[in-house]
């Protein structure tokens, strides 16, 4: 399997991404993903971003149940 038996540790950690440089991308991506999680799973149940409307909730209704989120 491994061709580098002599230096296994070096093989294990090939790269460290410079976080300060990457932080904007990583943070934006994480924020977008959490927002998506919120709209698929939580919005228009306990709370709602777009006011008193149930379109998102009703559209992803089956997915919400199946993915384990609490539903009405």
């Amino acid at each position: 399997m491994s061709s580098t038996l002599s230096t296994p540790r070096a093989a294990a950690t090939p790269v460290v991404l410079s976080l300060p440089r990457a932080i904007l991308w990583l943070a934006s991506a994480a924020f977008a993903a959490v927002a998506l999680y919120y709209f698929v799973g939580v919005d228009q149940g306990a709370t709602s971003v777009f006011g008193n409307d149930a379109h998102i909730h009703e559209f992803v209704h089956d997915a919400r149940h199946f993915l384990g989120f609490p539903c009405h």
Partner: protein, 285 residues
Amino acid sequence: MERQLLARGALVGIVAGLVAFVFARVLAEPLIDRAVDYESARDDAQAALDRAAGLPVEHEHADIFSRGIQANLGIGVGVVLFGLAMGTLFAVAYAVCLGRVGGVRPRSLSLLLAAGGFVGVYLVPFLKYPANPPSIGHEDTIQQRSALYLVMVLVATFGLVVAAAVGQQLAPRLGTWNATVVTVLGYLVVIGVVMAVLPSTGELGANVREYGRHATETPQPLRDGGGRIVFPGFPADDMFAFRLYSVGAQLLLWTVLGVGFAPLAERVLRRGGAAPTAPVSVSAR
């Protein structure tokens, strides 16, 4: 580099969501339909009882989307978007962990993180607040249930991050094996305490007032004035199958994520010239 990882995470997430959707469409949808039928039949029985008792009867509101849309397009879009969200978060975690979590190879890291995602985002919260088919869950408790569920998700995932950090601190002193055992035990104890402290859904105030003390919100049999059962409680076999398939779908989704992302990430790392001594960085081949 981080953009390439993110794009691949999102891509694999969508694929994972599609796989889980097919699973859901084939296995879960018949159950969801049965649960919806149970719910309407039960509502009818309740209305008949109310009418017989001279109580006002609630009127049903019209559905915004038909069952056909919900059962095909809706669940597809929902599950795929969930996959996209998880794939993206997964890639963020992967980028942060790369090279910071000790002797883990790029491919193994992908599998470990996917396992962590499955456990933290889904499995541990599921153990306390399991997935429910339609007709289970009372309108009045949705706020509390959502809050409780999200608390479980936060505790379970954040707990994993803390456990990983603590484990790394302990590893030089205790050795990797012992450090892992200690950290896993610690995680289980903390999660156990949190689960013991948080209320079950049946214990929420609105439920106790209206239905008495039950462990969950699963509909009990309907009884008429004389105490005779006139409509059965929710079928236990459907409940079991629904929950089993729910776990199966998540297991599938996270497995596809972990297994699918691993080679893609490795290719990005190799091409990115991450390590000046290129052959070393691809030793996991």
